[in-house]
Amino acid sequence: MTDTLTRTAAPRRESAVRPVRRSRGRVRAFCKHLLLVACAGVMLYPVLWMVVSSLRPNDEIFRSPGLILAELETGNYEAGWNAFEHPFGYFMVNSAIVVLGAIIGNLIACSMAAYGFARLEFTGRRWWFAVMLLTLMLPIHVIIVPQYVLFSEFGWVNTFLPLIVPKFLATDAFFVFLMVQFIRGIPRELDEAARIDGAGHPRIYLRIVLPLMVPALATTAIFTFIWTWNDFFSQLIYLIDPDMHTVPLALRAFVDAQAGTNWGATFAMSTVSLLPVFLVFLFGQRFLLRGIATTGGK
């Protein structure tokens, strides 16, 4: 089977037919750009409007569908930030703890499992690999009820542990798969050279494979960041106590509490909650795009 997705470095094809008349090509290119810009504009408009509205007084928001600001109103940020018994930054720290734990867990556990699948020959390897791929497609709902029972037996409800510990057990099969794909691309000669020098598997993993798979680790870290930061379902189930609330939960509680009156503050905190994702996207999109190109992403 041809390996259609992994070899992204294949030469870019040249346009097969040269345009007969230059002006016709130019008109076509212009139309294409017009279409693309229109598409992009329609897509981003609501988000831009939200950001602009967060800087408007409340009574102006729904009267102003445009993006031009008459004056800068920063009061929404102050009001939203302090709307709870904890300042919004408190919930951001909670989210950051969960995200950091999840990233560390995924990096360690998924890279170990990936090394095992990609480089070690063991009984039933193909069978276990198939099991791993199948868990990729498993809906979380099938395990959430007993998992909740199990973790509440441990006294883990209202702690971050149910959100972090599973990551140290490589339960995000997507990343195991991503790393297996990456390790397969690292020449085996490097392993063999190290083995001739007397290195065992732990050393090959730590000294050869891990340093070479930094791009895959970066992709994993970035995706874990974004998905955990946005995750709502499992945080809603495990974090009931408002002291343990993360950003999505705090935002939802805020929206419910003021029942759609203070839109300026809602938009301000929504903007704050999206900012980390946007920054990570801005600086990490190279790794994100490579990640979904190699495995198909989510």
Partner: protein, 306 residues
């Protein structure tokens, strides 16, 4: 290679090197622990719970097929299934169609490709967040941006979220809005199509449309298939958007009662854990059936050049 291609290929190669079971055991230990303790163990437990009545406080009481019989007469479950199927069957084709169209448009050496790609990809990272769901609620509200936009064309708007006729379509729009991630996968796939095929087609005098239909589309079918499987599985599990847009109720009149939202209400709202487990297994069977049908049907339309 994509996960779907990987599963197809597993029938192939034989083991060559000698086993290194001991090393493999240690490297895979976390994964094995996770598989049994966090995935397969709970799966088995939820299978058992699906035949019981269980409210977390008293020990589970075995009721045989009681939960499954209840499903047959549960009106809310039926409307929830209807909502979920409509959502999946409408939003996934629209999303993939748009993803493919824009990927093809971007593929032919467009200037500023990186910029457009980023702009189209960004919503798929933001789309699952509470913030965007909150935004959606206001954009499609009575005084929302969408009605303002319609007003420009002289069309009278309405409360898209509060009207049970249209509430689901706002969620479909939200899913279509996240077409960027399948688009990026399509783009990667388009790059793999050898230029010589296009040259040969051009020499034979094929029109651009003909080249798309006879070269691009067939060679892209494995990627279309992969995106289809993945997006269907994802769409069946949608939760956050419906939860936020409807304020956790699935309303108005259960018109946004996604299956996972219904399951959440039963399990974690009413602590009806036995029934929730049975619902979870129903979801697994539905997703499994869709995936199996997809794999079966792929024999007839997906082209693998091996």
């Amino acid at each position: 290679m994509t996960a779907t291609a990987e599963l197809r290929g597993l029938r192939g190669d034989r083991a060559k090197a000698k086993p290194e079971n001991k090393a493999a055991f240690w490297f895979l230990l976390p994964w094995f622990l996770g598989l049994f303790a966090v995935t397969l163990g709970p799966m088995a437990a939820s299978f058992y719970l699906s035949f019981t009545d269980y409210n977390l406080l008293q020990p589970p009481e075995f009721t045989g097929l009681g939960n499954f019989e209840r499903m047959l007469t549960d009106e809310r479950l039926h409307s929830s299934l209807g909502v979920t199927f409509t959502y999946v069957l409408v939003s996934v084709p629209l999303q993939l169609g748009l993803a493919l169209a824009l990927a093809v448009l971007l593929d032919r050496g467009v200037r500023g490709l990186a910029f457009y790609r980023s702009v189209f990809y960004l919503p798929s990272l933001l789309g699952a967040s509470v913030a965007i769901a909150v935004l959606w609620r206001t954009v499609f509200g009575t005084e929302g941006l969408f009605n303002e936009g319609l007003g420009l064309f002289g069309i009278e708007g309405r409360g898209w979220i509060s009207d049970p006729e249209t509430a689901l379509s706002t969620l479909i729009t939200l899913n279509v809005w996240t077409f960027g991630s399948p688009m990026v996968i399509f783009l990667a796939g388009l790059r793999q199509i050898p230029a010589m095929y296009y040259e040969a087609a051009a020499v034979d005098g094929a029109s651009p449309l003909r080249r798309f239909a006879s070269v691009t589309l067939p060679l892209l079918t494995p990627i279309i298939f992969f995106n289809l499987v993945l997006q269907i599985i994802n769409a069946f599990q949608s939760f956050t958007q419906a939860f936020i847009v409807s304020g956790g109720t699935g309303g108005p009149v259960d018109s946004t009662l996604f299956f996972s939202l219904f399951l959440y209400q039963r399990g974690f709202g009413n602590f009806d854990m036995g029934y929730a487990s049975a619902l979870a297994w129903l979801l697994l069977v539905i997703i499994g059936a869709f995936t199996a049908i997809n794999f079966w049907a792929s024999k007839y339309w997906v082209y693998y050049d091996d």
